[in-house]
């Protein structure tokens, strides 16, 4: 059982590493979006540091969103999704492995390079810690929620933007709590409350989302 989990994660990572660009791309996208904002908004450092957490979070969200389509789509097209649904292992379990692989490939790199971007956007160190923490807790929730959206839309052609339509409203609470945490940190306040809230959401998502994803897939593929 655990073997299969590892195998699924392994295969997904392998397929991604085969296409080296698939690993670097989300990071690049993220960097580019973050740099777009100073370009579009002007270059005043105080303005920038004020909007920085919001911009980084929105960029992370968009990067996640863009990469979601990949999550099940390829598997759907080549038929491995069907095969996964016909496997004797619980679908929710297999699906969790896929979500984990996806998080490792898209959000982890973003987490790793966020210090660089903090410099770009003149973010203070306190706010930066808070930002990293919220990204660490928040992005897995995004991945899990996103996977539900993907599972619902995977059977449809033109699912791409429909997906963002479904997913963005779901992820707004995470965005709000996270940016509130960062703002609190920037103004020297205690932000533990927000972080705990996010952590509670994460626990909820990890226990419930896999079943929702599995159910959604059974609806989509029929």
């Amino acid at each position: 059982m655990f073997n299969v989990f590892i195998q699924v994660v392994r295969q997904d990572l392998l397929a991604a590493f085969r296409h080296q660009s698939a690993i670097l791309n989300p990071i690049w996208f993220f960097i580019i979006v973050v740099t777009l904002f100073p370009l579009g908004l002007g270059t005043d450092p105080t303005l920038l540091s004020r909007i920085a957490p919001g911009v980084i979070w929105v960029a992370a969200l968009l990067a996640a969103l863009l990469s979601f389509e990949r999550l099940f789509k390829d598997d759907y097209i080549d038929g491995s999704l069907e095969q996964m649904m016909l496997s004797p292992y619980p679908l929710a379990w297999l699906v969790s492995a896929k979500v984990l692989a996806h998080w490792l490939l898209t959000s982890l790199p973003i987490l790793i390079i966020s210090p660089l971007l903090a410099i770009f956007l003149s973010l203070q160190i306190d706010a930066f810690y808070a930002l990293s923490l919220t990204l660490l807790i928040g992005t897995p929730i995004l991945s899990l929620l996103g996977a539900i959206g993907v599972a619902l839309t995977v059977g449809l052609r033109k699912g791409g933007i429909l997906l963002s339509l479904i997913m963005l409203p779901l992820s707004i609470p995470i965005l709000i709590f996270s940016t509130m945490a960062v703002e609190a940190a920037a103004s020297g306040q205690d932000y533990l409350g927000f972080v705990l809230l996010l952590a509670a959401m994460l626990v909820g998502a990890i226990t419930l989302a896999p079943f929702a994803i599995a159910a959604a897939l059974r609806v989509s593929i029929s």
């Binding site: 690049w28 370009l39 270059t43 450092p45 920038l48 770009f120």
Partner: protein, 248 residues
């Protein structure tokens, strides 16, 4: 044009020619680099405003210039490759891109390191800085595109097309200081009239620029040869070459 190009459009000849030229570039690079860097870092007078931190100029300016020069080279090669269907030119595009990216990165990095004492921040969203960053993105785009194709002939052609499209960025980078009023220095040494820099500072700078340029040439040739070998690894001439190496 075509007649002149043709013999060297043959892979084997170009390999040999590149091999002959390479040492010359290296011979030009090493002394000018050594003299330039020692003179610049140790002997040139300190700037009356900036003190010693201005010495970053000896890396920064050559790197920034070569970043653009590398792109221009690529653009010319891409044009030749696409219009006259010279496959080797497309290979040169692929060979140059990573070098250009590294030069761009050095320019950005030294600029940022210079910006900290000068402007009080590692990074400001200044037009020149931004456009240099864009240049880095363009380079990365080209490299990523090239790597994404498994058939390298197609990859070279795709990278060439993208290179030509990206040319619009070059004038923007160069004229950004003119078009927008920015923090960054305007043209100091490339002005047509008297350069507004002391001669003792200028000479080592020119030497450094020269050495960076020749090193760029050397690296392009080096990578070009590698690219050639890799792409033609099964051709008779490469096999012969390898066998000769093994025997000798």
């Amino acid at each position: 044009m075509l007649k002149w190009l043709h013999p060297y459009a043959k892979a084997e000849h170009s390999y040999a020619l590149a091999g002959k030229l390479m040492p010359w570039f290296l011979i030009l690079t090493i002394p000018s680099f050594l003299v330039g860097i020692v003179w610049g870092l140790a002997f040139a007078p300190a700037d009356y405003q900036q003190g010693d931190s201005f010495r970053i100029i000896y890396i920064h300016v050559p790197a920034a210039m070569m970043a653009m020069a590398a792109y221009s080279t690529m653009a010319i090669a891409a044009f030749v490759g696409l219009v006259w269907q010279v496959r080797l030119a497309e290979m040169a595009v692929a060979a140059t891109a990573p070098i250009g990216a590294v030069y761009t990165f050095i320019a950005l990095f030294t600029g940022a390191a210079w910006g900290k004492p000068m402007w009080g921040a590692w990074w400001v969203w200044d037009a020149r800085l931004t456009s240099e960053l864009i240049l880095l993105f363009v380079y990365m785009g080209i490299i990523a595109l090239y790597n994404a194709f498994s058939d390298k002939v197609l990859a070279g052609r795709a990278a060439s097309i993208l290179t030509l499209v990206g040319v619009i960025n070059l004038p923007i980078i160069h004229f950004s200081v003119v078009w927008w009023n920015t923090l960054h220095q305007g043209a100091t040494i490339t002005k047509f009239e008297q350069p507004s820099i002391a001669t003792e500072m200028l000479i080592p700078l020119l030497m450094m620029i020269f050495s960076f340029a020749t090193f760029l040439g050397f690296m392009i040739l080096y990578r070009f040869r590698n690219e050639l070998l890799q792409r033609e690894q099964h051709r008779a001439w490469v096999v012969k070459l390898v066998q000769a190496k093994q025997r000798g």
